[in-house]
């Protein structure tokens, strides 16, 4: 039996990137806001202390900051004919846990999607005809345009102090920036990070090949910065401990550095940690959320009534919460009907590694987002005619780190161990540069999320099941991108190169990206989307669902810039319209 707590105006499920922004902006209006977070409290001084933060084994390999699969995991299979099995040890992606969410230990590569990405279906068909669309795709246009989102992107970037160089200021192409990007109204809040030797080689080689290189936008920031909330950050020291680690320098934009210091001073805000929300409670007719139920660390169950419920639990867990609570119709791939779980997508890799003679790349002098990029092969920035695929990717020459347990490259053909291996490890560490691709993944009828029929969490509730594989479209795209990357690596002067390939089925084992998208996509038709253009549930209008779960398919970039933009976009609709007149913001 759960005990009922006093009512709150707003309950937020999860206190990561999206939850903290929502919490602060809503508490500021005077509303009583409670955020319920299943992991522990985390903060820079207490948890990411400079004396202990640079510990590769603890954080990078044993994954100390991440969710334990024992608490919640996901079952996975490649297609509907297989039996899904639980991910017992995280590999392909790494869900966050605790205050700050995955925002604590992200790399900080912070992109805007391209204007074409938001209407990719219409755009591709207009330019190339229906025949270019891949088999069984469920690709759909976003219900918002780049121009509508521009000011929200801007707010997230200024919140986070993103370091970069504009390529398109109010329609004027800027030297040194990304000429393909959508128009931005003002410069980045901070200048780009410094680049290393490999990035200099890339920038020269790419320019010689007619590409348009630019510094990758970064949430490891280049200079001291105070954001509009009044939170201050310090310059990045290129320590190379970003992804999987907390930043001890206050240099990485995270909820800890950018929001929590002011959020925690809001008198109407409360954070409850080590409390797992198990369900959004609905009224008898299923049309209103009455609040949430959660279980605290002692196993006690509580009911927290609220007027407004914001799911900010990370895309995947938002979808499971909706499935477990009965919000929206679950997707049925056989009939291609229903919306919750539909259009799950991911990110696909590609690229080429170059082995150089005599270089001193100093890979340890790095930052999660340090890198030189080129967008010439992203989205529809190039002619897809005759290529046989939709999509593309951003191409980057980067060092995120040189941490040696995971990073001790050897040239192809080297033995795996023994004295020869040891010598190759020594001789190669300084001499490898990589051009990597962050590729788009389209959405398909057979790639989706639902509840697993067999495996349960510790509370006895079904785990979520992921059915996913890279389809031909993505495999072709990745192979083509790897060829392009290889050309650039060669032009950089590599003596030996090796292309990466999407071989075999998608696997849960090697880390790829924590860029899980879709499952509760935004759209203008309730038959093909779970939430409307303001991320409001079509079925239960006092529930809003933040995060990359809203992406109809994934673009050739990391997601969080767009996740942040959508958060501010939804926030404006909540504050400007919903709170004045609670109800559906879009009529179905």
């Amino acid at each position: 039996m759960s005990r009922r707590l006093p009512r709150k105006a707003v309950v937020i499920v999860g206190l990561g990137w999206t939850g903290s922004i929502m919490a602060y902006e809503l508490a500021k209006t005077g509303l009583d806001v409670v955020a319920i977070e299943r992991g522990p409290w985390r903060d820079t001084a207490s948890d990411f202390n400079i004396g202990t933060a640079a510990d590769e084994l603890r954080y990078g390999i044993r994954l100390d900051l991440f969710l334990r699969t024992k608490q919640e995991t996901i079952t996975a299979r490649n297609n509907m004919s297989q039996t899904a099995l639980p991910i017992r040890r995280w590999g392909a992606f790494l869900p966050g846990n605790g205050v700050g969410g995955a925002g604590v230990h992200w790399n900080g590569q912070t992109w805007r999607f391209l204007p074409d990405d938001f209407r990719i279906r219409s755009h591709m068909i207009e330019r190339y005809g229906e025949k270019i669309m891949p088999a069984d795709n469920t690709i759909q246009d976003w219900p918002v345009s780049y121009d509508e989102l521009e000011s929200s992107y801007d707010r997230f970037e200024y919140l986070a102090g993103i370091s970069g160089k504009a390529g398109n200021l109010r329609g004027q192409i800027q030297p040194g920036g990304n000429p393909f990007e959508g128009a931005r109204m003002r410069e980045f809040p901070t200048p780009p990070l410094k680049q290393g030797y490999a990035q200099d080689l890339f920038t020269k080689a790419a320019a010689e090949k007619g590409l348009h290189p630019f510094p990758r936008p970064s949430a490891n920031i280049s200079t001291a910065y105070t954001n509009p909330y009044g939170c201050s950050m310090a310059p990045c020291t290129y320590c190379g401990f970003c992804e999987r680690f907390g930043c001890a320098n206050y240099s990485k934009s995270t909820p800890q550095t950018c929001v929590l210091p002011v959020l925690m001073r809001e008198p109407t805000f409360e954070a409850r940690t080590e409390c797992e929300v198990t369900k959004v409670n609905l009224s008898a007719d299923g049309k209103r959320a009455t609040g949430v139920t959660y279980v605290d660390r002692n196993g006690e169950e509580w009911e927290q009534p609220a007027d407004l419920v914001l799911l900010c639990a990370y895309g995947l867990f938002n979808v499971r919460m909706m499935l477990l609570s009965g919000i929206g119709k679950p997707y049925d791939p056989n009939r291609n009907e229903g919306v919750v779980g539909r259009n799950y997508a991911y990110q696909c890799g590609g690229g080429a590694t170059g082995y150089f003679e005599d270089a001193k790349f100093n890979p340890f002098a790095a930052a999660g987002s340090l890198g030189a990029a080129a967008d010439d092969y992203n989205s529809d920035n190039f002619d897809h005619g005759g290529l046989g695929f939709v999509g593309g990717g951003s191409m980057t020459c980067a060092y995120t780190n040189g941490r040696p347990i995971a990073y001790h490259p050897v040239p192809p053909g080297t033995p795996n161990w023994g004295s020869k291996w040891k010598r190759a490890v020594r001789d190669t560490y300084q001499r490898v540069a990589n051009v990597g691709v962050q590729g788009s993944v389209m959405s398909y009828r057979g790639c989706y999320l639902d509840l697993d029929p067999t495996y349960k969490d510790p509370l006895g509730r079904p785990l979520m099941r992921m059915t996913f594989d890279y389809q031909d479209n993505e495999r072709k795209m990745s192979a083509w991108m790897s060829e392009r990357s290889n050309e650039v690596v060669k032009a950089m002067g590599a003596k030996q190169t090796q292309m990466s390939r999407l071989n075999g089925p998608w696997s849960v084992v090697p880390y790829q990206t924590t860029h899980n998208t879709g499952g509760a996509v935004m759209g203008s038709n309730p038959k093909t989307s779970a939430v409307n253009r303001y991320l409001q549930s079509w079925d239960v209008p006092n529930v809003f669902v933040m995060g990359a779960s809203a992406f109809p398919q994934n673009a050739g970039y990391n997601p969080t810039g767009t996740v942040g933009a959508l958060t501010y976009w939804a926030l404006d609709a909540i504050v400007g319209q919903y709170l004045k007149n609670p109800g559906a913001l879009v009529q179905a």
Binding site: S46, G51, L85, K194, R272, W302, N362, I405, N416, W417
Partner: protein
């Protein structure tokens, strides 16, 4: 690690301090930490072996020494303390699959793309695997154990295990090899606080400066060698004598 962490203490006192409703933890009106509180790992100190038996120590010493031999480039796996590292890892939470989802069913033929699908913990893996290796060696090499084989014999057997060609009795040689290989690499390159990478040999081999945490000067000087010696979490080599 039996030490009560500050976090446990904090949680415990928070529970006592809570009046009325018993939430997990409730935070409002300010930040709930005191500066300079962190939870550092306890350094490995010279103590008795915590998991391995003497026979197991001999076998693992011999294996890590073939995987990363001591040579003119510096200490290898054994001298670097990889066996100590693995012993302490197995004795700790890693050894028991702590935090991992271990509910069944465990179907017999999972897809390779589905990753770890066995309830056998790293501790069981080493115990059973090393026993199988010992039995295999005694049967194949006239009563000798792995540690007493020649380097050539050891290398040939490790190669066969790696390829899945050595049929150890009742244990998959390939999975034993994979576990020891992964843990040896970890031990050789992890911070010395965990008992391996003694004198930061792994870091010196590749030129990784450790935990210096500030390379603005390096970024400013492209393509220049880095000359400073590495620094570890304890600031100096964490020597731990073999027990």
């Amino acid at each position: 690690m039996n030490r009560t962490t500050r976090r446990q203490l904090l949680s415990a006192s928070a529970l006592v301090a809570l009046t009325g409703t018993a939430f997990g933890r409730s935070f409002r009106n300010g930040l709930p930490w005191s500066p300079n509180e962190a939870y550092p790992p306890s350094p490995i100190t010279p103590r008795a072996w915590q998991f391995f038996s003497p026979d197991e120590v001999a076998a693992v010493d011999a294996i890590v020494d073939r995987l990363i031999p001591s040579d003119d480039l510096g200490a290898g796996g054994r001298e670097a303390g990889c066996t100590v590292f693995i012993d302490r890892q197995l004795a700790g939470p890693y050894g028991v699959h702590d935090g991992l989802y271990m509910d069944g069913p465990f179907p017999p033929n999972p897809l390779p793309s589905q990753g770890l699908q066995s309830p056998v913990t790293p501790r069981q893996q080493y115990r059973q695997g090393l026993a199988a290796l010992s039995a295999y060696c005694k049967a194949t090499y006239a009563g000798r154990v792995f540690a007493s084989l020649s380097h050539e014999e050891q290398d040939a057997l490790l190669t066969a295990m790696e390829k899945g060609e050595a049929k150890l009795p009742g244990y998959d040689g390939r999975s034993l090899f994979a576990a020891i290989y992964a843990n040896t690499i970890e031990g050789y390159f992890a911070d010395p606080v965990y008992g391996g990478n003694r004198d930061m040999v792994g870091w010196k081999l590749v030129g990784f400066p450790g935990t210096r945490y500030d390379y603005r000067d390096v970024i400013d000087k492209p393509n220049q060698p880095y000359m400073l010696p590495p620094v570890a979490m304890q600031g100096r080599p964490a020597w731990g004598q073999l027990p």
